[in-house]
Symmetry: C2
């Protein structure tokens, strides 16, 4: 096990009716900006519940955060927040709204010239507004971590940043808010959560048996519960279990002391940036081929995955590992999630070329737990997708 | 899944050499009381490392915290801390030293007449000194929770309290500090951690599949790793895995949204208070018989435990559940942990009578996840132990 530090100060309020706890969680006498997306919360009752919780607060609203939230939109929110003297951000929505809130919180206080540098050149974040979240789409884990991913329309870029100052002070998770998600949103959430776990688990690492089992626990539960929400979108228990799995998948707990991959995400981000592919779709496309190409280093963990999660009885590690990849693809297909670029009308050669050029434009890259995925290997992976 | 709240603000610094991080973790310019036990840290090098970390600090030492830390000793520490103007407590040792630190931190600031009331009558804790810990014996999970258990010599009582104000600010976990533990201490730690998990897992509860699997993950890892530290006490990886299992076993994570039992602990505490039985020994004695007597409500979870952790193939839940109990006892015996009162020279009838009288003296009790373990049932359990 590698040495590690862990600190996660997020207060979770989980369960049916938990939005009613908003007044006791919000800071007193602070000017609040309530941030949300395209307005689906106005159709599922969440908006009204939040308004009830904010009734005695001084707040403004900022609507219109899009999926894969845009730097351009965030900067409009920064301007509105500065004008209003906002002291606290309340993000209501899925990972995109939550990620936008984190970036806005850091951008408002940013001492440099252009807050884009936080994403593009790792410019230091020395302070940030406090923020709280009400999660309505379990997927990204943003509700209990310190990471955000922001896109820039003008340059087709999508970049992450992490900073402990943007941990939410609190996150409210009410599974009932997820009843009204579309099938596509629900499936995207399950695939995204699964991919977060595999980035921390399907690696060349070893010697972390508890962390491995935590990862297997989350994936097994996702596989068990996902079909239930497709057949009955109002299955409270299944919604609750999936919501809690998604939080566990990326709050840092299951990778304590582990090596981590994240190359699938970094390549997937480019597909989203260039082609607008949903984040989860990009992961479902890249992950299986990335595993196949890095089989030499991931075989042992993939074989364990096959045996423990998919109950594969194969004695050969090599065959078990290949079975794990096939069964992961089968699971995605069972949810209606497609796993080939051509399924989304994307030309693989073109995509491989674009991503190669972009990575080379950054002076090449060294992705994955062993740093062995460079621009050329990313191109090779995408040619097989 | 039940509704729940979760907030755990402890910063963990885990790994080889992590005591060297002490200076950056300690608050600046605060008067510190360093608390430790009988002095084993002077023989294994930990004391010297802590002294090096404290070299630029204003601190006093308080030594002599005993296993099952005594209220009487803690109150001497309170007096010394008040005299010195202590502003921060650094606990160095196992769960007993850490628990003592929590009680001392609360007792120093206690507004009532007698701090014993914090334990005996749930008197409110409204403030507490901040504290940090350096763990040298993985077992109680005290390093990442808000609970402490304190004994009173004069009345043979052993009582717990919990308060978020006594969460450690930081906990340093260096597995190398555990190399010098005796076999008895190491085994006690494994059994204690396992029992913490089963108190949260072997219940009448259902509908928490992820939490169940987290519990199974911890127990499976303990079973896998424990024999390694007995055959090679300096097996770093095994020591690290057991240390991390013990923290995971009682930091509140695996019981989020679950019902919990804790009757084994409450009955076990009385055996320790009356007879000085090691905490883990008391758990190993009570747990199997408590499960047998509450088989009607625990059968389903015990059967799952048998199949998933012990790989029992039995189709009948009833037989699988009984196999789980037998295999748990076998595991304890394999570590040299005895599971009968008579093994420890204790007369079962006498013990059953004493615990019955004590519980009745508190106006009877309603222990366990269903509140169905009263004084009479506790007596019945102990008569079978």
């Amino acid at each position: 096990m590698n040495n590690f530090s862990y600190l996660n100060p997020v207060k979770i309020a989980f369960g049916k009716g938990s939005i009613s706890k908003l007044p006791e969680l919000l800071p007193e006498r602070k000017k609040i900006m309530m941030l949300y997306g395209a307005g689906s919360i106005k159709n599922n009752g969440v908006y009204d519940k939040v308004m009830a919780g904010l009734s005695s607060c001084n707040f403004i609203e900022f609507a219109g955060i899009e999926p894969n939230p845009l730097y351009e939109t965030c900067m409009k929110a920064v301007e509105a927040a500065k004008k209003n003297g906002t002291e606290f951000i309340l993000a209501v929505g899925g990972g995109s709204v939550l990620d936008a809130a984190k970036f806005i919180a850091a951008a408002i206080e940013f001492a440099g010239t252009d807050p884009w540098d936080i994403l593009a050149s790792d410019a230091p974040v020395r302070s940030a507004l406090p923020l709280g979240t009400i999660l309505t789409l379990p997927a990204t884990g943003s509700e209990m971590n310190m990471t955000a991913v922001i896109s820039r329309a003008s340059t087709c870029e999508k970049l992450p940043f992490s900073n402990p100052l943007v941990y939410p002070v609190f996150s409210i998770l009410d599974p009932e808010t997820t009843y009204s998600l579309s099938v596509r949103q629900s499936v995207n959430g399950v695939v995204d959560a699964l991919a977060h776990v595999t980035e921390q688990y399907i690696t060349s690492g070893s010697g972390t048996p508890l962390q491995d089992r935590l990862c297997e626990s989350i994936i097994s539960t996702l596989i068990e519960e996902a079909p239930k929400i497709l057949s009955d979108p109002k299955d409270y228990e299944a919604r609750a279990n999936i919501m809690w799995c998604a939080t566990n998948a990326l709050n840092g707990w299951c990778s304590c002391g582990c090596v981590q991959d994240w190359a699938t995400h970094m390549i997937g981000h480019e597909l989203t940036a260039f082609y607008g592919l949903d984040h989860a779709q990009s992961l479902a496309v890249v992950m299986p081929e990335l595993w196949r190409i890095n089989m030499h280093s991931k075989e042992s963990k993939l074989a364990q995955f096959a045996r423990r999660v998919f109950n594969v009885k194969e004695k050969s590690d090599s065959r078990a590992a290949r079975a794990a990849i096939a069964k992961t693809e089968d699971f995605f297909h069972s949810l209606g999630m497609k796993t080939k670029l051509s399924d989304y009308g994307i030309n693989g050669e073109e995509a491989a070329g674009k991503v190669y050029e972009r990575f080379m434009g950054r002076g090449d890259v060294a992705l994955g737990e062993d740093g062995d995925i460079n621009a050329a290997k990313a191109r090779e992976i995408l040619l097989k997708c």
